[in-house]
Amino acid sequence: MDSRPAPSAAPAPTGLPARVLVDDDLRRSRLTVFFRFFLALPHLVFLALWSVMAVLIAGFNWFAILFTGRAVAHDLQARYVRYFAHVVAYLNLAANPFPGFAGEPGYAVDVEVAPGDRQSRLKTAFRLVLAIPALLLASMFGPSLGSGYFTLIAAAAFLAWFAALALGRMPQGLRDLIAYANGYLAQAGAYTLLLTDRYPSSDPLAARYGAPAPEHPVTITAEGSELRRSRLTVFFRFFLALPHLVWAFLWSIAVWLAVAANWFVTLARGRPAAPLHRFTARFLRYWIHLTAYLYLVANPFPGFAGRPGSYPINVSLPEPGRQSRWMTAFRAILAIPAMIVWSALANALGLVALLGWFTGVFAGRMPVGLRNLGVFALRYQAQFGAYLLLLTDRYPYSGPSLELPREREASKPG
C-alpha cells in the first residue's frame, strides 16, 4: 500500500521545474479587459521573437549539457519562461497590470524557476521524447487557437472576459484555474527548454494561490486514495467498468425523471423533496466513484450503490435545503458556463486516464500530480453535477485551490 499523501492532506510537492505564485487582488479594469487582446499585441510580437531566441539557446544548451552537464544562459532562459507566464496571465485575464517586457520577478501571477543545477545527460539526450507526455498535457491547458476544443485557459478566459466586464472583478476560481494551467505551461517550458531536468507535475496543489478558496457545500476528499495501481485492472479498466456503465445508464434514466420532478417541487416549495434529493445524491456520488475508477484516479472497483464513505474518493453532498426559485427556474441555462469549464476539465481528465494507463500498466503506480489533477476534475464534476441536478444552488468553484488544506493556504502571505 502506497502511503503518498492524498490531496486533502498533502504538502505542496517540491522539486518542480517551476512554480506559480499568485499575488492578485482580483480587481480588473473594464477598459483594459475589453481591449485585452489588442493591448497584449506588443507582448505577443515580442514573445514570438524571444521564443525563437529561447529555442536556439535551448538547442545550444542540449550540446552544452551533454558535454559539461550544465546549461548556459540559465537566467536569460528563466526570464523567458517568466515572461511567457506573465503574458499568458495578462492576455487571459489572470492578472490586471500590463506586464514588463523583461520577465522581471514580482508580477501578479509569477513563476519561480528551478535553479540551474547540473542535469542528467541521459535525460537531456532524450529530452524531447521524455517531454511528450508533459507537452500533451500542456496542450490541454494552454491557450487554444482553433484547436476545436476548449483548453483550461481558453475556457476560463472566455468566461472571465464576460464576468470581468460585468463585475469589474475576476472570479477567483477562474483566476486560480488560469494561474494553475499557466504554472504547468511554465513547468513544461522550463523542462523542454532544458532549464532543469525536473519533470513537470500537474498537481494543482503545487501552486501558491493568493487567497483561500471559499467554502463550498460539495467537497471531495481522497483520504484513503493510494497511488499504487494493479497492472491487470488498469490494463482492462474500461472493460471492468462495463457492468458499471450499464448500471449507471439504467440508474440515470430514473435520476433524470427524479430531477424533473424535483425541479417542479423546488420551484413550488423553494426546497427540493428530500427523498428525491437523496436518490439523486446517491447517484451523483456513485457516478463520481465510477468516473474515478474509469479514469484511473482511484484503484479499487467501486460498489454499485454510491454509499458515502465506501470509496477512497469520497464525495460530500449537501442535505436538502432552501434554494433560490429564480436559480432553479433557469438552472439549465445558468449551468452553461460551468459546462464549458467542465468540458475543458473533462478533456484534461481524459488525458489523465491515458497517461495514467501507461504509468499504471508499466510502473504499477499513478503519478501524484496526475492523480491530484484527476481529483480536482472530479470535484468540479461533482459540483457541476450537484448544481445541474438541483442538489444545491451554489455555483461550481472552478479554482483548483479548494482541495488545499485551509489552514496552510490561509497562513500564506499575500
Binding site: 485492472t233 472493460f239 471492468l240 462495463l242 457492468p243 472497483f301 460498489g303 450503490a305
Partner: protein, 402 residues
Amino acid sequence: MPALRLWLVLLTLAGATAWGAAALALWQTTVPGDLNLPQFDPAQYLSGAEIERATDYQRFLGINALLAALAQLVALGIFAARGARFARESAAGRIGTGMLLGMLALAFVWIAQFPFALAATWWQRRYDISDLGYLDWAIGYWMQAGGKFLFISLALLLVMALAGRWPRGWWLGAAPALVVIMGMLAFTTPYLMSELKPLRDEGVAADAQRLAEAQGVSDTPVFVEDTLGLTSAPNAGAAGLGPSERVIVWDNLLERFERSETEIVLAHELAHLSRGHIAKKIAWLALLAIPIAFIAQRTTRSRGGLGDPAAVPLAVFVVTAMLLVALPLQNAFSQRLESEADWVALEQTRDPDATTSLFQGFVDRGLAAPDRSWWQELAIGTHPSIMRRIAMAEAWRERNPP
C-alpha cells in the same frame, strides 16, 4: 431421518429422470433415424491438392485451438490458486467484488490466449483466408473482451445473489438464470450487429422469401454482412429469438457461389430458425448447467461457497474445466442440429447436386475440413465434416430418386 433420506433419493432419481428425458427430447431431430450415411473417399469429390491444402490448414488450427484451451485452463488454474488476492482491488460489496474477480479471470484467459489467437490469424493470412491486418485484428480481439466481461458479470450477479440467499441450493436456480441471460443475449445480439446491409439481389431475395414461407418463418429478414477485406471464407448464420430473428449471409458467399448453392445456404439457416435451434441450444446449455453448477457448489464449499467472492476464481476454473470436459457432448449436439438443418435444406430444395457443389466450394474457397481425425471431431467439430455433409446429400438422393 431414513424417510427424509428416502425422499431425497426419490427426488434425486426423479430429477435425474426428468433431466434425461429433457436431454433426450432435445437430442431428437427430424433427420430419419434409419439414415445411413455412406462412406466416400474425399478424392471422389475433391482434388488431391484441395484435400491436402484444406487438411494442412485445419490441422494447425485444431492443434492451436487445443493449445489455447490448455492455456486457458492453466491460466484459470493459476487464477484459482492466487486470484482471490485481487479482492483487495475492490471497494464494492460481496457481489461487486465477485464480479470483479470473474472479469479478472477472463482477463487472465485473454492474456493467455493472445498468442494462440495471433497464431491463428497469422495462419489464416498465410492461407489467404483472412485479409485482416494485425492491428485491426488486435483491436477486434481487444473489443471482444467487452462482451465476455459483461456476460460473466451478469452471470455472477445472479449466481452470487442466489448463493448468498441459498448457499447449498443455489445451483438449482443456476439453470433458469442461465436461460434468462442467454435468452437476453440471443435476443439482443442481432440488434448489436453493425454494418449489416439489406439483401439487394432480387433473385436471391425472392428465393429467401419463398423458402422462409415454406418453412413457416415468412417474416424473417435476410441481411448481408460486408466481409470484403476481412476474410475470403464464405459463411452465413442465423441469429435472434422471436422478433429479433434474422439470417445473415456474408457477401463473399453471394459473390462467389451459384444462386442454387446460395439457396441451399438460405434454406439451411432458415431451418435453424424454423426448428428453434437457438432456443434448443439455450435449453441444452441450461441442462448442462445443472450438473456443472452442482459440482461448482460442492468444490467451492472449502472457500466459503459461491456467496463469498473468494470462491469465484475457483468456481470459474471448475466451470471452465467442466465445459471443456463436456465439449465433445456439446459438439455432438451441435452437429445434430446442423445435420437437421442440412436435411431440411435438402428436403426443401431437392437439389443434392447443388448441395454437393456448395460443400466442395467450402473446401476449395474456405478451406473447410474435408474429413477430421477423432480429436479434431471432439475438440472443434461443431459442424459435420464436409464429407459427412456430402454423404447426407447422396443419402437423400438415394431415398428420393428422380
